[in-house]
């Protein structure tokens, strides 16, 4: 039986760090990248005798996330303890939520080839992150850094509604953009503030029962998630085709070898002994509280997209790309206001900026320049100060060392040659050295004109005004 006869079933548990200023149960800062154990206090270090106090912002952010993903918000919720031993968990229990999560029964819509598809969300709950282990960094042994311990997380659990790695990527991107838009998480995947546990199973097409699933923990790049799913699906189908059975187990994806490895099987499945945390009180939310958050939700990507289609007449594809990230979207809107040329800004973002982001594996939030600088770049092209090919060079500069584009072109001597005399001089020089092209043009080969303009651009290192070149070559050739 071939692979096409199998259906892939995928469900995700996404962990996203909330961008509150302080931790979930104490007032330590949540900032990433500080020296180990400097953002800690007796509470997040789990010292005996300390008590947690719930950060109200965490509840607010989680409710925002719930409302933005069409969830029902629980009026009556609570915190539970999840007990297990691990060195990065100083209390030996994680404060999480078990049977009364803050948000339930939501969905996120993705665009597939067959049209819109709803991915159902089982729940969203709040919990604290664990610390980080640094292995063998200081000669042998492992050291614990508790800066991350107590950083607030939401866990977003989807139903097994996803059917391919493409759908998974679309779903994750959508979810990420929603969280960015409502400003509850910065979703930096490299820093681990947006990561997913991926549950995969396969079944023969037409079957209604779910197959045995395996879980891959803590994946934090789209590329690894896609590769891991493809690998795992193949592995499972191979086992089934050979008459074997799938073991329910937790796997670790290894990016280097491109394989999954077993971390623990069902046998040593942990019993977390969940129970309500007696140190904390129930979370009761009033109708007004929820209503108030609902009314103050910022514009979501779907609505921005709609606006771009109507207001700016962007293509559906372009609008999708730009609204996929709040940072790109903000960049687009602000730069457009400055230069009054949304079409041009759109083109820059869709082509060159996206390409550079891809090549450098950068996320939009990491773009070093701001909307003013991009807007200015478009203005300089529009008013003829530089050509668009110089514009590309300026953009590269903006990525490397962001500053005022005007300064860049002055410094680099990139100002466009728009002086008629100077242009004419170049045109005549190029014509003189390319008699063959003249003959070709006269013989009906229009392409020769492009070649001549190209030569002139090369001669001037891209600084000549291309429209003027075009015009003047035509004049000379048609004489």
């Amino acid at each position: 039986m071939s692979r096409e006869n199998y259906e892939k079933i995928i469900g995700l548990e996404v962990h996203s760090e909330l961008s509150t200023k302080t931790k979930i149960f104490c007032s330590c800062p949540t900032e990433f990248g500080a020296a180990p154990n400097t953002h800690t206090c007796p509470i997040c270090m789990g010292m005996p005798g300390t008590l947690p106090v719930l950060n109200e912002k965490v509840v607010e952010y989680a409710v925002k996330a719930g409302l933005a993903t069409n969830c029902e918000i629980a009026r009556d919720s609570k915190n539970d303890r999840k007990n297990y031993f691990y060195p990065d968990l100083p209390k030996a229990y994680q404060i999480s939520q078990y049977d009364k999560p803050l948000c339930e029964h939501g969905y996120v819509e993705i665009e597939t080839e067959e049209g819109k598809k709803k991915i159902r969300l089982t729940r969203i709950h709040i919990e604290e992150d664990a610390g980080k282990l640094n292995h063998d960094e200081f000669g042998g042994g492992s050291l614990v850094d508790l800066n991350r311990a107590g950083v607030p997380l939401i866990e977003i659990v989807s139903e097994p509604d996803l059917r391919s790695s493409e759908e998974v990527e679309k779903y994750l991107k959508k979810l990420k953009s929603i969280l960015e838009y409502i400003e509850v998480s910065d979703c930096k995947m490299q820093e681990g503030s947006f990561r997913a546990d991926v549950n995969v199973s396969v079944r023969k097409k037409g079957e209604t029962k779910l197959g045995t699933r395996t879980e891959m923990k803590n994946m934090n790049s789209f590329r690894s998630i896609t590769r891991a799913i493809e690998y795992e699906v193949d592995r499972q189908i191979d086992i089934l085709e050979d008459g074997g059975t799938i073991e329910q187990e937790t796997l670790r994806w290894d990016d280097v070898s491109g394989k999954t490895f077993s971390m623990r099987d069902k046998e040593d499945a942990q019993d977390y002994r969940y129970f309500p945390d007696p140190d904390l009180v129930a979370i009761n939310l009033s109708e007004e509280y929820i209503e108030n958050i609902k009314n103050n939700l910022p514009e979501l990507p779907e609505s921005r997209k709609q606006r771009y289609l109507e207001e700016y007449k962007l293509s559906e594809k372009d609008a999708n790309i730009i609204t996929s990230s709040k940072y790109l979207s903000d960049l687009f809107e602000e730069a457009s206001k400055i230069c009054n040329n949304p079409k041009a800004v759109n083109n820059w973002i869709i082509s060159d900026i996206s390409r550079i982001l891809n090549e450098t594996e950068m996320e939009p939030i990491e773009i070093p320049f701001d909307s003013k600088q991009l807007g200015k770049l478009v203005v300089l092209i529009d008013n003829g100060t530089i050509s668009s090919s110089i514009g590309k060079k300026v953009l590269t500069e903006l990525f490397e060392n962001p500053r005022d584009p005007e300064e860049i072109i002055k410094e680099k001597g990139w100002i466009q040659i728009s002086d008629e005399g100077a242009i004419k001089e170049i045109v005549l020089k190029i014509l003189e050295t390319n008699p063959q092209s003249i003959a070709d043009y006269k013989g009906g080969k229009d392409k020769a004109l492009g070649f001549l303009v190209g030569q002139a651009m090369k001669e001037t290192k891209g600084k000549a005004n291309p429209q003027m070149l075009n015009k003047m070559f035509l004049e000379e050739l048609n004489k």
Partner: protein, 265 residues
């Protein structure tokens, strides 16, 4: 005086209640006239030592003579409260003591081959028998498949115990019971029978389970001179009433002046 200091809302403890503070020293009026005291008959039945019973009966007389109104009533909670208490307390302890795993806090075993062994040995060597007993019991009642039958049930029973007490406080200002069914036993004499040892708590744990204030004061001695305790239980946030009742009793019987403590060799 200590109560005066620790009373009130603590913003670092979300389980504490925000209420106006009271000066408890002002509550000591040395007067219990008209105070309604309920005596639950279940607390004086089987298992209660005869000498304890007699000392309590004398104390009840003292209150009668001071002008309090005494009435016997039924409050059948003690057995349930005891079981509930040991389930909930052990469950919480098993989780609370998890942090003493040899990684960051407390004793770490000197030799281990891997993480699992570090945990196992540190905790096995570091904890005493009674603590281990409670951790095991607490872990068991929280385990999946047993949670509903034990921990959840215990929380439900806890609500029932509270309701029973609430009914009692509709009629009485104070509920009077022995502190312990027997006088103090020798250290270690019941270590081999923990269940019997837990039974000694049967009168006092109801208060913890129901979330009520209670005070224990000496009210007599047995023939070997061992002190016998009386427990006064008040309604929620009615510490003043039990403090005043205890103070008035002490002023009347001058227990401390008549009984100098003696320690067994």
């Amino acid at each position: 005086m200590l109560l005066n200091l620790i009373a009130g809302h603590d913003e670092k403890d979300t389980t504490s209640v925000d209420r106006p503070k009271i000066d408890y020293t002002k509550a000591l009026k040395n007067d219990v006239k008209g105070l309604k005291i309920g005596v639950p008959k279940e607390f004086f039945g089987e298992g209660i030592n005869q000498e304890v019973k007699e000392a309590l009966e004398k104390s009840i007389e003292v209150y009668k003579n001071l002008g309090a109104k005494i009435e016997e009533f039924s409050l059948d909670v003690a057995n349930y409260a005891l079981a509930t208490y040991y389930i909930i307390a052990c469950a919480e302890a098993s989780s609370n003591l998890g942090r003493f795993d040899g990684i960051r806090y407390t004793y770490r075993t000197p030799e281990f081959k891997n993480l699992k062994e570090l945990y196992k040995k540190s905790r096995s060597e570091g904890f005493g028998d009674e603590v281990k007993r409670r951790i095991i019991l607490g872990t068991y009642v929280l385990s999946s498949g047993y949670y509903d039958a034990y921990y959840k049930k215990a929380q439900q029973v806890r609500t029932l115990v509270m309701n029973e007490f609430n009914k009692g406080f509709e009629n009485y200002d104070i509920i009077l019971t022995p502190t312990s069914p027997t006088v103090a036993f020798d250290i270690g004499s019941k270590s081999n029978n923990p269940l019997e040892m837990y039974l000694a708590d049967i009168c006092t744990v109801s208060v913890n389970i129901a979330g009520l204030p209670g005070i224990s004061i000496p009210c007599g001695v047995d023939k070997e001179g061992m002190p016998i305790g009386m427990q006064l239980i008040g309604n929620k946030f009615c510490e003043e009433i039990i403090l005043n009742a205890a103070y008035t009793f002490e002023q009347a019987v001058k227990f401390r002046e008549n009984h100098k403590p003696e320690f067994k060799k």
